[in-house]
Symmetry: C2
């Protein structure tokens, strides 16, 4: 069991975005080793079909299982939305995913039972947040909106640009018109737009960051299943990507909120 | 020779954008058969590394050569910029690419020998347009600017949106400040933004559409090499993509300027 406990948590994403989940895990579980895989050669997933997303997700799952992780976290909302069952089907270790985490946090927060969800086209089309929220409370009304430009805007670094504000106003207007009191940031890139989004939606709407919710749920599972790493030395963090990591390294630090250690390229 | 002449022109792109080249070819060479491949599962290429772009480009080249094309056209500026030599190295048929075409048209058009080029980060970083222009005229000054948001803005359909205008103003301002009289639209998505870009740069700057320039050069080669299809019946157009073609079909029609026939999915 000592051996199992010292194993890493495997986190995977279509690219850079999952680093916001790694950041939340580092802060919530500071003694856990982490292995990250970002599919930077094939990012973004949000505009791909269900079949292709499933195929790629299973390749990544197999890669991380070979790394002998003790727990898998699907940090990519798109993969969580469409490939979670397939991933669970091949994984010998527990699998958690961001959508369940964000849905639970949002259902606990809303007072007027009216929740907004923003995400990529694939996430929104899958309707996975609405299903996850209704598994908890069938009375909640969910209003979703795809925001396809948010990922490229974040990656361009235009976190407070006038063009980003115009895009956000256009995307958020119909959701706000439904009287939501809670808004799920249903894509790992969106926490970087949190200040701008908070400014647009106003103080009466609570923002749910799926990355933070995910870390909280992972911490709960680790305590419950007695999976915690007993070591109190600084843990090891390994980052793998599928393309040359130059861009990952440059942009990644703003997602991780700290400098990135060595990043290794692998071909799946 | 009759057999060779009736073969199709192979056109390939990272996704949908190359359809602007197909459109120009359909209009300039209305009796030629065309086989198109769009790598929609792995689009976009503009933010990938040189190594990855080369690997993917060679997979596509092999696919089209198996389709027995008589001529290959690299419609994707990014692949043309970084993988043209590798593609030529494995192709038994002539290979043309959009960058040489756009560069020649721009060099012929400029009066003050000052040309602007806009494209994806990979195209701009490669400096391929500047080299292609300098092969024609070493006195021309070239000013390039990557516009990473233009592709997602076009795919969102925001061709005349205020956010697109703000992004275009920001991207074009430094290029215009150099006193260019010619601007190359160095990405196959950009012709859809032509009205908005023309409005921003004003009548004193000529816009060069690489797709149109490409069709002109292909027509020249076909006459010179006596490769023209002698048939005068409506030609066959075949479209292959690497992801489920739902989105390709929906968005593609605005690129092609007409309805898309059957689109087939293949795995490379």
């Amino acid at each position: 069991m000592g051996d199992l406990n010292s194993r890493a948590i495997g986190v995977f994403d279509s690219g850079i975005g999952g680093l916001t989940v790694v950041r939340a895990l580092m802060e919530r579980l500071p003694f856990e080793n982490i292995v990250y895989f970002g599919d930077t050669a094939r990012v973004p997933y949000g505009i791909k079909s269900v079949e292709t997303i499933n195929r790629y997700a299973l390749q990544i799952t197999k890669f991380l299982i070979k790394k002998e992780v003790k727990l898998l976290i699907v940090a990519c909302n798109t993969m969580a939305a469409v490939a979670f069952e397939a991933i669970k089907g091949v994984s010998p270790v527990p699998v958690l995913e961001v959508i369940g985490a964000g849905a639970a946090a949002a259902a606990a927060r809303t007072k007027n039972k009216t929740i907004g969800v923003i995400g990529t086209p694939a996430t929104v089309n899958s309707n996975a947040y609405a299903r996850a929220i209704h598994r908890i409370d069938r009375e909640v009304r969910v209003f979703s909106r795809a925001c396809p430009l948010f990922v490229p805007l974040v990656e361009e670094g235009w976190l407070d640009h006038a063009a980003t504000r115009l895009a956000a106003l256009e995307y958020l207007r119909p959701v706000l018109a439904e009287g939501i009191d809670t808004l799920v940031l249903g894509c790992t890139h969106y926490p970087l737009l949190r200040p701008l989004i908070a400014d647009i939606v106003g103080a009466s709407v609570s923002l749910i960051d799926s990355a933070e919710a995910m870390a909280e749920i992972a911490a709960g599972l680790i305590v419950r299943e007695k999976l915690g790493n007993p070591s109190e030395t600084p843990p090891a963090y390994h980052f793998f990507v599928s393309d040359v990591p130059y861009r990952f390294q440059t942009i990644g630090e703003s997602f991780l909120g700290r400098s990135l250690p060595h990043v290794e390229m692998v071909k799946l």
